[in-house]
């Protein structure tokens, strides 16, 4: 069931290799350039082939994704990364925001990511809902196991940019987000642990009234 044993490492260090440290820093600095949203970066990781994905360490996934993001946003050419063509310097570079050491702390603790939604929430605490059976070709934050399941709205969690459009340059389109609770049995059937409940934070358009 699932993907096998966890292989828990006792006293695990914060990093396992020097390159992981630089990979973390590179990813965050590059994100600060302001050329892509978090949803676009998630989508870049999702487009890594499953075979490579499962084999890769997490920071390697970030690096593969970063290549994609840099190339797709025109900041570097593939040939530059692999050293097969001369480096170019694009005109627009001045528009980029380069993160400086003195800005790091403020950047890391920058404010909340909520976005104002023009509509009132469609659901209230206690409402019974059913998640839709959504299988988009692009990015989504509705997990596969939670499709077509009935649950209860437990909290209204504020409104946030909608990943399914924000990942594809189709705008933030903020939506209300709800904590929706399901019984383990609803999700996994009769064999489920009877003491289990699972919740997700669901965007409003993932839900319909049940």
């Amino acid at each position: 069931m699932g993907f096998g044993a966890l292989n828990i490492e006792r006293n695990e260090p914060v990093f396992h290799h020097e390159w992981e440290k630089r990979a973390l820093g590179l990813s965050l600095c590059a994100a600060c350039l302001g050329q892509w949203t978090i949803d676009e970066s998630r989508h870049a990781y999702e487009r890594i082939s499953p075979r490579a994905y499962l084999r890769a360490s997490y920071y390697e996934i970030w690096m593969r994704g970063l290549d994609t993001l840099l190339v797709e946003n025109g900041l570097v050419a593939v040939g530059e990364i692999y050293g097969t063509e001369p480096r170019f310097f694009s005109e627009g570079d001045n528009a980029l925001i380069v993160l400086r050491p003195s800005d790091v702390d403020e950047m890391l603790s920058s404010g909340p990511s909520e976005r104002t939604c023009g509509r009132p929430p469609a659901f209230r605490v206690g409402d019974r809902v059913e998640t839709k059976n959504l299988n988009p070709k692009g990015h989504t934050r509705l997990p596969g196991y939670a499709r077509s399941k009935r649950g209860l709205i437990e909290r209204v969690q504020g409104s946030y940019a909608f990943p399914d459009t924000n990942a594809h340059g189709l705008g933030a389109n903020p939506q209300w987000v709800y904590t929706v609770v399901f019984s383990g049995r609803e999700v996994w059937g009769e064999g489920a642990d009877p003491t289990l409940t699972i919740s997700i934070d669901a965007f409003e358009s993932y839900l319909s009234r049940a």
Binding site: M1, G2, F3, G4, A5, N7, I8, E9, E12, V14, W19, K21, R22, A23, G25, L26, L28, C29, A31, C32, L33, G34, T37, I38, S41, E46, P50, Y53, L54, Y58, Y59, L66, I81, G83, V98, R100, P101, D103, V104, E106, M107, L108, S110, G111, P112, E114, R141, P143, G144, A146, Q157, A161, V177, T179, D193, L196, T197, I198, S199, D201
Partner: protein
């Protein structure tokens, strides 16, 4: 003051697909036989690859390597599970704070000086004798960096991400934790911009400890929900 456009919404431990979420069985991940050498080569490849990219972006003026070093320093030295442990200890010793934490974790945590890293909202979920909480991100690796630092490898593994929502007790048993069969288990899947901090139950033997001593008892795993807090000091 920095322009905020760039990191509102644009930062977070990068993340992934659910397409590998197993909805069914799957094998044990013990394909060590002839992959080990691959991995060694692989890591030296990565070393070269990351260095090349950093050099390229630095030469292009897009990256300041000193900022990278500052970020590394932050997570190696300043931000880690002891932030979360301080939150937990305060909640155990200050009922007013605990109430605030339950109602508005984002502000309560910020009041201790470590809120809102990466612009995420926080929610604190409280264990009780009847209910145990566990946090996962099945879609990628969302994690409360501001209070716990960087996630451990197991948290980001396909194994944890697939099994936590299906069979949390089997995960707990790998951590040496056995809960009564009647304890309810609530698994929180971080599918949006909210990050979860588990507030473990306070060990009853620790009555006379002060906040600072209590904080030392609180392990990272206890705040993810894969551990409990006991008066035996956890390994870091």
């Amino acid at each position: 003051m920095l322009p905020t456009r760039s990191w509102r919404f644009k930062l977070r431990p990068p993340v992934e697909m659910e397409s590998l979420m197993t909805n069914s069985h799957g094998g044990h991940d013990n394909d060590h036989s002839h992959l080990e050498n691959d991995h060694e080569n692989h890591y030296s490849d990565m070393e070269a690859r990351v260095r090349a990219l950093e050099t390229l972006l630095t030469e292009k003026g897009m990256i300041d390597p000193a900022a990278i070093s500052e970020i590394i320093e932050t997570y190696e030295k300043r931000v880690g599970p002891r932030n979360g442990a301080a939150v937990v200890a305060k909640a155990w010793t200050d009922a007013g704070f605990a109430g605030w934490l339950a109602k508005d974790a984002t502000s309560a945590i910020a009041s201790l000086g470590f809120g809102e890293r990466y612009g995420s909202r926080m929610r604190a979920v409280f264990n009780s004798a009847d209910e145990h909480n566990m946090v996962v991100c099945t879609l990628c690796s969302c994690y409360p960096w501001a209070v716990l630092g960087l996630p451990p490898v197991w948290y980001k593994s396909p194994a944890y991400r697939s099994r936590a929502v299906m069979d949390p007790r089997s995960i707990l048993s790998e951590f040496g934790v056995t809960l009564p069969a009647t304890t309810r288990i609530r698994v929180w899947d971080s599918t949006a911009e909210l990050r979860y901090l588990v507030i473990p139950t306070r060990p009853t033997e620790a009555k006379c400890m002060d906040e600072r001593e209590l904080a030392k008892l609180v392990s990272r795993d206890a705040m993810i929900g894969t551990g409990l807090v006991t008066t035996v000091k956890p390994s870091p």
